[in-house]
């Protein structure tokens, strides 16, 4: 027992040590949202660009501009979209490029205002495809109440990009005294999920057509700013907007990665209950076949909120009245010990650690 506790201290030390980039080449694992990506971001990018805003490693930077007693708080973010295939059930790369950036702004509690859009187009891309993408961006932007106010286009030789890559940046304004941060989770808080897990990632995996599976799963790509706005409103009504402690959209790396980031930043233990986590039947089935865990699969229209306990029930009620929060529910709670760890009580009655993935989620062979 003494030996094993020493061991686990050793493991915890290893887990917490500073991210160092050891690789000498970029591999796909560096883009997968797991530990390899954290090593790249913290071990390399941060070393060169370090500043107090970037250091927080939130999905957006929040800063104040203007003088006087009432400066304006702004949220600023950027994201690139390289999904393949570019059209998939429930969406396309254009819709994703608007929603992803709108959501990253919204997760700061901000109202999204303006977007930029940069396009890298591969020689030979059918104009008809580009039109389809632009139409979809147009309607997604209209729904989200944002306007694309600046842009850029580059065309590269065939084979040096894959059809179309899009970068969008966005800016929004924070109009309430919101204080959300991955470092802000507190023991006693409840963990809220806005809907079913894994729809987007599973859709893409199947749409690639390598698996010859036919399902009716669709990407959940959706703008979440109205849901966040409802949540802030409800929080203000019940107690205060400050009762919402963390807001994140669990995209790459899924809910497991998001919760791990929160547990580590806030130095808390997060416990979720498998039985409470909503997963669509088809997604569950596809994941069983593919050997994947929905907890690690990407979402594009879901959010995780960590909130003060007294706010949890009314907040979930309110979220369910929003079309993008219909299946909102409480999936767990924040505790003190052991800090930095996420665990799940399985439907079977055991408990297991839900760690960040090392790299890509690779299917098991048997």
């Amino acid at each position: 027992m003494a030996a094993s506790s020493q061991l686990f201290e050793r493991v915890e030390r290893a887990r917490r040590r500073k991210h160092k980039l050891r690789d000498d080449k970029i591999t796909l694992a560096h883009g997968s949202g797991g530990k390899a990506m954290h090593e790249l971001v913290e071990g390399l990018f941060l070393e060169y660009f370090r500043n107090p805003l970037l250091e927080q490693l939130e999905d957006q930077a929040v800063f104040e501009v203007g003088n006087g007693s009432k400066p304006t708080r702004l949220a600023f973010t950027t994201d690139s979209y390289v999904v393949t295939p570019i059209f998939f059930p429930g969406g396309d790369i254009g819709k994703l490029a608007i929603h992803g950036t709108v959501n990253d702004i919204a997760m700061s509690g901000a109202r999204p205002l303006y977007l930029s859009a940069g396009f890298i187009l591969e020689e030979g891309l059918p104009i008809a495809d580009l039109k389809r993408v632009l139409e979809s961006m147009q309607s997604a932007a209209a729904e989200a109440g944002v306007t694309v106010v600046t842009g850029d286009t580059k065309v590269v030789e065939k084979g040096t990009a894959d059809k179309i890559f899009i970068n969008t940046s966005g800016i929004g304004v924070i109009e309430m005294p919101v204080k959300v941060s991955a470092a802000n989770a507190q023991p006693g808080d409840k963990v809220i999920l806005s809907g079913t897990l894994g729809d987007h990632g599973t859709t893409i995996m199947i749409a690639r057509g390598e698996l010859e599976l036919e399902t009716e799963i669709e990407s959940d790509s959706a703008p979440l700013h109205s849901l966040v706005s409802d949540m802030l409103d409800e929080a203000a009504r019940v107690s205060s907007v400050e009762a919402i402690h963390c807001l994140r959209d669990p995209t790459r790396g899924g809910v497991a990665t998001t919760l791990n980031e929160i547990a580590l930043s806030s130095e808390v233990y997060v416990e979720i209950l498998e039985n409470l986590i909503p997963v669509r039947e088809e997604v569950h089935g596809a994941c069983e076949i593919l050997g994947l865990d929905p907890l690690y699969v990407a979402n594009e229209g879901k959010l995780v909120a960590i909130v003060a306990p007294e706010l949890a029930e009314p907040l979930v009620e309110r979220m369910r009245r929003n079309p993008y929060g219909k299946h909102a529910c409480i999936i767990g709670e924040v505790k003190t010990d052991p800090p930095g760890i996420v665990a799940m009580v399985t439907g079977f009655g055991g408990t297991r650690i839900v760690d960040m993935l090392a790299g890509e989620q690779l299917p098991r062979i048997c």
Binding site: M1, A2, A3, S4, S5, L7, F8, R10, V11, E12, R13, A14, R22, D23, K25, I26, T27, L28, A29, K35, A36, E39, E210, L211, N275, E281, H284, G285, E288, L290, D337, P338, I341, A343, V345, T346, G347, F348, G349, G350, T351, R352, I353, D355, A358, G359, E360, L362, P363, R364, I365, C366
Partner: protein, 373 residues
């Protein structure tokens, strides 16, 4: 999900756990041979439900874990040959060779692609007639039939640019080697489920007959595993040593005749095959038979074929035999982590070390906070 959820019911598990605890308080060591079981045990937290006197030992049935360094290097050497598309199951991408992994080779320019089935590799070969498509065949009798069927298909369709780098292994010689190991102290075995759908339960009969150890062939859902533990403990308590089949809904006693025929048609046993950590085991590996030599990547490409010793600090061998627990290895969790694996047991989620690292820490952490020592 129908036919799955039935095997994951927590209330039944709790009752079963009580029944297991009521059987005996004798300390027992049970080995689950198959990596799939190890994965289930950790994924569902099954150890939390077992009484403290029952200890699960995680055996060598993780194909990715037992592939030796030299063979991984050979795979990389083939993958780096100009004009080769090297296809592999996702699991094998991160397995470290002596210098890098397939993921690293891919980043350095090799055309390595993940497939879900060897048939996908064959399709790729037909689509790219100017390339040599190689399939990295890994696994026990579970995956061997699909490789065999693919080779038969390739022969039928006369696909000249498709070959197989064959690393298929057999469970029974490995079990025998384990049972003959002098430092092994086990009370019974949870037998592999998927392997047995192919080979049946007959090949394990030597375990109770010659070694007097009980075997229960088990399914992979958590209730399957728990029920198998119950059956195994019951045998031990009643002084029986028999083969029992918990997974009868899938495993017939004589296995799958067609799958076995395909294996016998396409493969022949190697005189010796090296297992990581366990050393060389006679007749434990398969290679393509001379009739299908045209599809043998080892004959088509020059592979270094070197035997490379495991890193000194790595104790995968002792861990695979169940002699040591993952945490008794000096590099576990420090130098050897899922991000930077030294030993293969840390790579696959079926590997005992990775399973322990990823899923197992909590109960230990809880114990630690409960008893400040």
């Amino acid at each position: 999900m129908k036919y799955i959820d039935e095997y994951r019911q927590g209330d039944i598990a709790a009752r079963l756990a009580e029944q297991i605890a009521a059987l005996t308080d004798r300390p027992l060591k049970l080995m689950e041979v198959c990596g799939g079981h190890t994965h289930s045990i950790f994924k569902y937290g099954i150890e939390d439900l077992l009484p403290p006197n029952i200890e699960m030992i995680h055996g060598p049935g993780c194909p990715v874990c037992v592939i030796p360094l030299g063979r991984v290097d050979d795979s990389m050497s083939i993958a780096q040959t100009p004009g080769v598309i090297f296809t592999t199951f996702g699991d094998a991408m991160r397995v470290p060779g002596s210098k890098t992994s397939l993921l690293g080779a891919k980043a350095a320019g090799a055309d390595v692609r993940m497939v879900y089935s060897p048939l996908d590799a064959l399709k790729l070969a037909k689509k790219n007639p100017d390339k040599n498509v190689v399939f990295f065949a890994l696994g026990f009798e579970t995956t061997a039939p699909s490789t065999a069927m693919t080779v038969l298909q390739a022969a039928k369709d006369r696909v000249p640019n498709f070959t197989v780098f064959c690393n298929h292994i057999m469970i029974v010689p490995a079990l025998k080697a384990l049972l003959d190991s002098p430092d092994l102290k086990l009370d019974g075995f949870i037998g592999p489920g998927h392997v047995s759908t192919v080979i049946g339960t007959r090949p394990y009969e030597f375990v109770p007959n010659e070694y007097k150890k009980p075997v229960v062939v088990a399914g992979f859902e958590p209730l399957d595993v728990l029920q198998s533990v119950y059956m195994l403990v019951k045998q031990i308590v009643e002084g029986r040593a028999e083969i029992e089949n918990q997974y009868a809904r899938v495993v017939p006693r004589d296995g799958n005749r067609r799958a076995l025929e395909a294996i016998f048609e396409v493969f022949e046993p190697r005189d010796y095959f090296e297992w990581r950590g366990l050393g060389s085991i006679a007749h434990s590996g398969m290679k393509l038979s001379s009739k299908y030599a045209a599809f043998d990547a080892e004959l088509k490409f020059s592979v270094p074929g070197l035997r490379i010793a495991d890193p000194k600090a790595c104790q995968c061998g002792e861990i695979l035999k169940g002699v040591k627990k993952p945490w008794e290895c000096k590099v576990f969790g420090t130098a050897c982590t899922p991000e930077t694996p030294i030993g293969s047991c840390m790579v696959s989620s079926e590997g005992a070390c990775a399973a322990y690292y990823n899923f197992g820490r909590l109960s230990k952490v809880a114990q630690r906070s409960a008893s400040p020592s």
